[in-house]
Symmetry: C2
Subunit: 300 residues, 2 copies
């Protein structure tokens, strides 16, 4: 299979990333980050989530962030909406695309969202229905596709079942997430082969964490399987909530460097992306999690 | 091409790694590191180098390290010997395998070893002759195979010429090094295709630095090209002398995790390797550069 010529990066730093940073961050800084990212050429930014601030305090103010950003034509600004209440709040904030989040691991679903996989999928039905009614596209996430922090192994048939269910419900794309970064290249390829037999590969995305340093190898393995959409987080924002001090989301800069090297088009400017990541790291007072950014900034 | 079933890791931490650490380290700690590594199952450890301490002060005492280690049967303990004088010192220290080091970049050769590529290769002829006489195997390194800190691009034909020359001289294996970590997976595959047409792939090894986060993707790409020997450094010892604060040698633990995931046999115990790396990091007072080690230690 030839490598894809174009890849879309789904920038999850402002949501998945900042959600897992301890340091609180102002609405103005979030707005600046989102605007920096769209200016760098990202065509898809996950801006925030509409979820109870009791559960995810870092995501309070997502409506204000949506109100503050300069919406650039051609860019998708998305929000995570775990249920109908969240969807309605997103709608009110003018959000045009949303995402729902399920797990491939029963244990993770119970611990993370307090319900079974089946219950979580049922909860999405009214979200998908309302989205259809309002002409809003819905992206689906499946977490723990290559391993679970609670149950360990995850059956690829379970991943396939959840992905196929989200696809059948009407999600236009399903992102398969190695939430704890334990997967390696062979398992990644095998997963896309199996899931890809049920859900067309052009409707699948890869979401890799670099906790065990495997993310770029897994992305390369995914490209070899024809996958052309990847989630990543500028400056590797986010860390790993399941292993304190360990690495979380793969850094967008490092993914972009790989894609540039492979001659794959993304429309993203690496220097501008590095600058966006470095700026938010300075706001957070933390070291940049992108190796490309660190190497470039060390040389500058 | 099927993936190799067995891979040999060449552990370069005690030499290439420690050589680039600022913190001085005692002979006893080096001996302990080498013994920890062989106990973990590494079958090849580059122990030190016989080079003027004026140039590489961290490598002073290599003879004492060789005298102090417990040589485990079946394990190769190698030393870098840049010239005949170094070779003779290594011989005196009882070294059974040596390595020579050339560059694929003319600018790097001049800056790094003060001579042209051609002169450096000529300097190796008496080393190879003497080694043959004493029944000592010689491994060859080629640096800057995917880019140079001084001249930028490096022609793959130049890499091929230097690798072929080392092979013709009698090096039993030639390790191709991405010294500054700028290479990506496509360039890695293309390089092994071109060089592999001149030097048999079973006599080639890959040496990757993780400066731009690409090392594991490049190693996976190399495996797909049938390469089955990789250099790596426990705990990512070494850093990058060309970009202060950036990452250098790929961490052995992270490579092993990839290989284990692919079901490739190495004979190395991951837990023992992590313990060896963590111990030397504590001696050096530095953060562990292996993501696998950090993730495992964070969970423990």
């Amino acid at each position: 299979m030839p490598l894809p010529q174009h890849v879309r990066l789904v920038e999850v730093g402002p949501r998945d990333g900042l959600q897992n940073e301890k340091q609180p961050i102002s609405v103005a800084d979030k707005v600046r980050l989102v605007d920096d990212l769209s200016a760098a050429g990202l065509a898809y930014v996950e801006v925030g989530s509409f979820v109870s601030p009791k559960w995810v305090p870092q995501m309070a103010g997502s409506a204000e962030v949506f109100a503050g950003i300069r919406q650039k034509p051609g860019v998708t600004y998305a929000a995570l909406t775990p249920n109908l209440k969240g969807f309605e709040a997103a709608l009110e904030a003018g959000v045009k695309e949303v995402a729902v989040f399920a797990a491939a691991s029963e244990a993770f679903s119970q611990k993370n969202i307090n319900c079974s996989i089946k219950e979580s999928l049922e909860r999405f039905v009214p979200v998908l229905d309302a989205a259809r009614e309002h002409g809003i596209r819905v992206r689906g996430y499946v977490s723990c596709v290559l391993g679970c922090p609670y149950q360990g192994e995850v059956d690829v048939q379970q991943v396939t079942a959840v992905a196929a269910e989200l696809d059948a419900m009407g999600c236009y794309e399903v992102s398969l997430g190695d939430t704890i970064g334990v997967g390696t290249a062979g398992a990644t390829r095998a997963m896309f082969e199996v899931v890809g037999a049920r859900v067309p590969r052009e409707r699948l995305a890869g979401h890799f964490h670099d906790t065990y340093g495997q993310a770029l190898a897994n992305i390369y393995a995914s490209l070899l399987e024809g996958i052309a959409v990847f989630d990543s987080s500028v400056a590797g924002l986010g860390g790993c909530p399941y292993a304190k001090g360990a690495t979380g989301n793969v850094a967008s800069e490092d993914v972009l460097y790989l894609l540039n090297g492979l001659g794959i088009h993304t429309g993203i400017d690496l220097d501008a992306l590095i600058a966006a990541g470095q700026r938010i790291c300075q706001v957070l007072g933390k070291e940049n999690g992108s190796r490309v950014a660190r190497a470039r900034l060390a040389k500058a």
